[in-house]
């Protein structure tokens, strides 16, 4: 549209430019904070813990923390998809117990080469079942996965007869590579975590499927109106989550070559905390894999840091509480540009 009346004096034009330039650095710091508030929080914790106990950043310790966070982390990657698509997955903990027990049991029965794919298939079936209920039947995901938390636990107990599951020949199996192996000096669990994070991060950020996940979580109705098959997307998210759980179960099983039925119990909330700490909204439509990784690391380092400082576990609880809230608060305060909530 032609516009002739819009003339401003040249001086004011440049004046505005100048003020923009001056504001730029400040503004860009602001935007950075707003975008990566959680990262900033993370760095602050690291510094704090290091001052409290310098061993904290000992490379061995760091590797150790990342390695033991890997199991939680791998699960959190999958749950990130589910949460972004606007749903919840509380069943990952007991599903992980299931995969661990199954793969350990099958290891001795049919050998690791068959046990691993068999376990993945079974875990994916569970994921597909949840995906069907939540995606196609549109049942409330919180209750469905809460129900599955209990049901899968029952399934695991039935499968194992409630017994611990241990591999008979612990030293003679290559199966231990997933949990205890190293490549290039880096533990395999970390490599698996990073590889999965990279792959899933790309899927989420760079593929049409990822875009659809955001759309379905952001506004499911609008997504349907845009020709997105919502049920299919949700279904796929649960499959991804189950796949990640299976990977976590694999690492877990391989790490100790034996396990109890409750190995993943209670992890669902930790996983969710990591995802949320990473800034994903429970309402769906927001979050990224990178931030989830940060969320996972924050949780892992908090736990480890507090152990190193030597606090009683219950003091750790309290400190974890404070840190989680501070981290999320910092994150959203940076986003909205003010510390206190505008709610009257």
């Amino acid at each position: 549209m032609a516009d002739v009346s819009d003339k401003r004096p040249a001086t004011s034009e440049t004046g505005r430019e100048d003020s923009k330039m001056a504001g730029l650095s400040k503004a860009s710091v602001g935007t950075f904070l707003a975008k990566q508030g959680i990262l900033v929080a993370f760095v602050l914790f690291i510094i704090g813990f290091t001052i409290a106990n310098p061993r904290f950043i000992d490379p061995d310790n760091v590797l150790g923390v990342v390695r033991s966070s890997a199991i939680l982390g791998v699960m959190a990657l999958g749950v990130t998809f589910v949460v972004i698509s606007g749903n919840l997955d509380l069943s990952v903990g007991s599903m992980m117990s299931f995969s661990t027990i199954v793969v350990l049991d099958l290891h001795d029965k049919i050998g690791p080469a068959l046990a691993i794919p068999a376990m993945f298939a079974m875990t994916l079936c569970l994921g597909a079942f949840i995906g069907f209920l939540v995606g196609y039947l549109r049942l409330n995901s919180l209750i469905v996965t809460l129900g599955m938390l209990s049901a899968i636990h029952g399934l695991t107990l039935t499968y194992s007869g409630g017994q611990n599951m241990d591999i008979a020949d612990k030293s003679g199996t290559w199966f231990s590579v997933f949990g205890q192996g190293e490549a290039l000096g880096i533990p395999v669990p970390i490599l698996m975590f990073l590889a999965l994070a990279a792959a899933l991060g790309v899927i989420l950020a760079k593929t049409p499927f990822g875009r659809k996940v955001y759309a379905v979580g952001g506004n499911g109705t609008a997504a349907t109106f845009s020709g997105i098959r919502r049920a299919r997307v949700v279904f796929a998210c649960y499959l991804i989550s189950a796949f990640c759980v299976a990977c976590a179960g694999l690492i877990q099983a391989s790490r100790s070559l034996g396990s109890q039925n409750t190995v993943g119990q209670g992890m669902e909330l930790e996983v969710l905390a990591a995802v949320i700490l990473g800034g994903a909204s429970l309402l769906g439509g927001s979050g990224t894999i990178f931030k989830t990784v940060i969320g996972v690391l924050i949780l892992g380092f908090i736990q480890n840091g507090l152990l190193l400082v030597g606090l009683q576990f219950y003091v750790q609880y309290v400190v974890t509480w404070i840190i989680i809230i501070l981290a999320v608060w910092l994150d959203i305060a940076a986003k909205r540009g003010r510390l206190w909530s505008p709610i009257a």
Partner: protein, 296 residues
């Protein structure tokens, strides 16, 4: 003989294989005896649920109630209700608190305090063998916070250790929640934090093996004496491999059978001692051949 219906409410089946094996052994023992029918309930670790289950058993008019308390004190009023309804109550595995003794016919189970003490002795003996009884530093990984068994074992251990090995230092205690994985994480942190760890006491073998795994990964398992309790199959194997020093032998099958037998004895009007401890001997690499490998 007379037909009896016996109800049992367990603490938390499925949380570890000890309790699961106990449940199975209990059912098998009951099936083997044609005079008994059993109602087997699981409180899932929740006191409220356990109290409700006792109420339900009273309502169902069973002949005797066996209870594995989730909390040795909280169940006292429920137990009182049972005794007011003239139903004898047998406590199993971990005892209820003293004010409840009046309402209980008998206790049958292991003595967790003694177990803790024995673990301390095993540890001390080993240190003495190695000649480090005057400088050794140890850490403890305890069971799920708040559970009687966990508390009693820790207490027995901590009380006994200074008596037998006054110069051994217990540097730190952290809970491993009866969980192998959790215990492994705790141990990983200990290994970073302390350059010199000579011994680890774990509240059960499951956690003990978790700690062992951590030490193995760090290449420090050789230098550490691992002592647990409730000898699990994994612990037994690790002992066989020479990585794990000792534990306390406690069979859930004995535990369950003792509980059922005590209940039957009470019902048959026999004289039963109030405290019916079954023996839980020490097991170490030295004497492990005398024991069968645990089934759980």
């Amino acid at each position: 003989a007379q037909e009896y219906t016996i109800g049992i409410t367990q603490n938390n089946v499925g949380v570890d294989s000890y309790q699961t094996t106990y449940e199975q052994a209990f059912i098998e023992a009951a099936e083997a005896n044609e005079n008994v029918e059993v109602v087997v309930l699981d409180a899932g670790g929740d006191v409220a649920r356990q109290i409700a289950q006792v109420e339900d058993l009273i309502q169902q008019e069973v002949d005797a109630i066996i209870i594995w308390p989730t909390n040795g004190e909280a169940v006292i009023p429920a137990v009182r209700k049972a005794s007011q309804a003239d139903i004898p109550v047998i406590v199993t595995n971990s005892n209820i608190a003293e004010p409840g003794f009046d309402f209980v016919a008998s206790f049958s189970g292991p003595d967790n305090i003694t177990q803790g003490a024995r673990s301390a002795e095993i540890m001390c003996d080993r240190f003495t063998e190695l000649g480090i009884q005057d400088e050794a530093q140890i850490v403890q990984i305890s069971g799920q916070p708040g559970y009687t068994t966990a508390i009693e074992r820790a207490q027995g251990f901590e009380d006994r250790l200074p008596e037998v090995c006054p110069n051994v230092t217990l540097m730190e205690t952290q809970p491993g929640d009866w969980n192998r994985e959790k215990s492994q994480q705790v141990m990983e942190a200990f290994l970073v934090k302390y350059d010199d760890i000579d011994g680890v006491y774990a509240g059960d073998d499951n956690m003990g093996v978790g700690a062992l795994n951590a030490a193995r990964a760090a290449g420090r398992s050789e230098d550490i004496v691992f002592v647990g309790a409730t000898n699990f199959a994994v612990g037994y194997e690790a002992m066989g491999e020479g990585d794990y020093w000792g534990s306390i032998y406690q069979s859930p099958v004995d535990d369950a059978e003792a509980a059922l037998q005590t209940a039957l004895d009470v019902l048959n009007g026999e004289d039963v001692p109030f405290l019916n401890y079954f023996d839980t001997p020490k097991i170490t690499q030295d004497n492990m051949d005398e024991f069968e490998k645990p089934v759980f």
